[in-house]
């Protein structure tokens, strides 16, 4: 798989976060999301940042790795910042050129939005960095179980996620092969202009997409031939065990979220 693709990859290490039950981590992530949304001031965001840093630094994974995980979203963050700067007109005017004004409130809200986004991306990366795909799936299936009441099948969702995770390396490998084949015929991305690169991306997307559909068809047959029936009762090789540290972990997040809601 492409080594630059950091986001969403499991990083093996021996830390207390790695040992946590995925159900605890998933629940904590939801609580964290609520806490970040409820944090309106820099002091609240600073408290959440300090809280996050303690957990990230003890996760056995270098902090820069979390930073790299946020890299693909930097353009989105820049867009969010600009959006606030351009469209928020409250506060002191810092700069005014024609109809374009930059206000103190616009810059502040833009910074808060970027801060929140960074916190969310870096902290939620802890879930995928410290949980194997199999554990994550088991956790998701357990957490989504209540959705059965409204007719949504958690098994279907987790099976889709399993297959997606299973095929990520295969599709990357296939894309690489096609890229190399194109390069061997003189179409090297490095030497091309942006417009031509765009055209080549289309020629890459078509065979990869067609290949993915072909694979999907055969995969369905392989699954059926091995006895898979949608929503039928199944046993599982893996199982999850809830421990005291999981309860403690959740409690920490409950306190944090409650604090953000009350303040």
């Amino acid at each position: 798989m492409d080594e630059r693709m950091v986001m969403g990859r499991y990083v093996a290490a021996q830390s207390w976060v790695h040992q946590l039950d995925p159900r605890a981590k998933l629940t904590a992530m939801v609580l964290f999301l609520i806490a970040v949304i409820c944090a309106d001031y820099s002091l609240e965001l600073a408290v959440i940042t300090a809280f996050s840093l303690v957990i990230l630094m003890t996760s056995g994974i270098p902090l820069r790795r979390y930073g790299r995980a946020s890299k693909p979203l930097w353009p989105l963050m820049a867009f969010m910042f600009l959006f606030y700067v351009l469209f928020e007109h409250n506060g002191d005017v810092w700069l005014s050129i024609g109809s374009f004004t930059v206000t103190s409130e616009g810059v502040l809200l833009g910074l808060y939005a970027v801060w929140r986004m960074l916190l969310l991306v870096c902290f939620t990366s802890i879930l995928t960095f410290t949980t194997t795909p199999i554990e994550l799936n088991l956790g998701l299936e357990a957490v989504l179980k209540p959705l059965k009441l409204i007719g949504v099948s958690p098994q279907q969702w987790t099976m889709m996620i399993t297959i997606a995770l299973r095929f990520i390396p295969t599709i990357f490998e296939e894309a690489n092969k096609i890229l190399k084949a194109q390069a061997s015929r003189g179409a090297d991305y490095e030497d091309l202009k942006l417009k031509e690169k765009g055209k080549l991306v289309v020629t890459l997307l078509v065979p990869v997409t067609v290949g993915a559909f072909r694979r999907a068809e055969e995969l369905v047959m392989a699954m059926e031939s091995r006895g898979y029936v949608l929503d039928a009762k199944r046993t599982s090789l893996r199982y999850l065990t809830w421990q005291g540290t999981d309860t403690l972990f959740i409690l920490l997040f409950i306190v944090l979220t409650a604090g953000m809601i009350i303040l």
Binding site: I134, A222, E224, S225, R226, R234, L237
Partner: protein
């Protein structure tokens, strides 16, 4: 026993592929299904596994009629190995992939673990159990896929060009395993193949051409009929090709498809001296 009677099958918006196809395979027999590309070989074995349903006609597996009710039970007794190993893995580790079929059949966890360890040891794949299937070579992937099937104790094994994407060494290794399974476990084998050695290792060759069984004969007879073999895009192994050539030239030393046998037939003294 596999029994296909009066099978009619047609893919949507295409001409009928099979009309009135009949095939009987006794229990424990190894049958090679051969024929030109697009002749319906893979469709035939998919019908046997219930992956496709005939428009009319009946399929019986050990006396059980293959229909909507019995299909899962029949699939439990049938292991299907696909051509491309990459497209048949579901899980993100070898261990979980082997477990997939057992999970679908509600095998208890302790039993699953035991069976995975046993099959992994038998096939020499214990070291790969925690690896991602994508990190394995083609031959290794097919071995893992076989483990995923054998762990379910099938009575029938279907190989759908399972060795066609492998290198020569992996192909030999797979063939050795298939021979072993046939001999020691008495599995009924249906093998769609273009590989001469695989065909020669089987008990019977069924040639499908334009959706009908054009020939049903022993593998040696298939290679003796040069036109038919050519039509099926089959090339006999060197020893057999030489034996056939010598016979045509008036020197009948018998038909041999192993180098050792051929040498023995050509130079008996060489063997005695040895």
């Amino acid at each position: 026993m596999i029994r296909l009677e009066n099978i009619h099958f047609q893919y949507p918006k295409r001409e009928a592929l099979f009309s009135d196809l009949k095939l009987h395979v006794p229990r424990g027999q190894w049958v090679s299904i051969v024929g030109p590309n697009g002749s319906g070989k893979s469709t035939l074995v998919k019908l046997v596994n219930g992956l496709l349903s005939p428009d009319s006609g009946t399929i019986h597996i050990d006396g059980t009629l293959l229909d909507g009710e019995s299909v899962s039970d029949i699939r439990r007794r049938t292991g299907y190995l696909f051509q491309n190993p990459d497209n048949q893995f579901i899980a993100t580790t070898v261990r979980d992939d082997i477990a997939f079929g057992m999970e679908n059949r509600c095998v208890p966890r302790a039993d699953m673990k035991q069976r995975i360890d046993a099959i992994a040891e038998q096939l020499g794949i214990s070291e790969w159990l925690n690896r991602h299937p994508a990190s394995l070579s083609g031959g290794q992937k097919q071995r893992v896929a076989i483990a995923g099937l054998l762990v379910l104790n099938p009575e029938i094994m279907i190989w759908d060009e399972a060795t066609s994407m492998l290198d020569e060494r992996s192909k030999q290794d797979m063939l050795l395993r298939l021979r072993h399974l046939h001999k020691n476990q008495g599995l009924t084998i249906l093998s769609v193949t273009h590989d001469a050695e695989e065909i020669l290792a089987s008990d019977r060759a069924v040639v499908i051409r334009n959706g009908v069984i054009a020939a049903d004969m022993s593998p040696i007879q298939l290679f003796e009929d040069r036109n038919l073999a050519w039509e099926c895009r089959l090339q006999p192994p060197f020893s057999l090709a030489l034996s056939l050539e010598l016979r045509e030239k008036g020197m009948d030393i018998g038909l041999h498809h192993h180098e050792e046998e051929l040498m023995r037939a050509l130079w008996p003294s060489l063997h005695v001296n040895k």
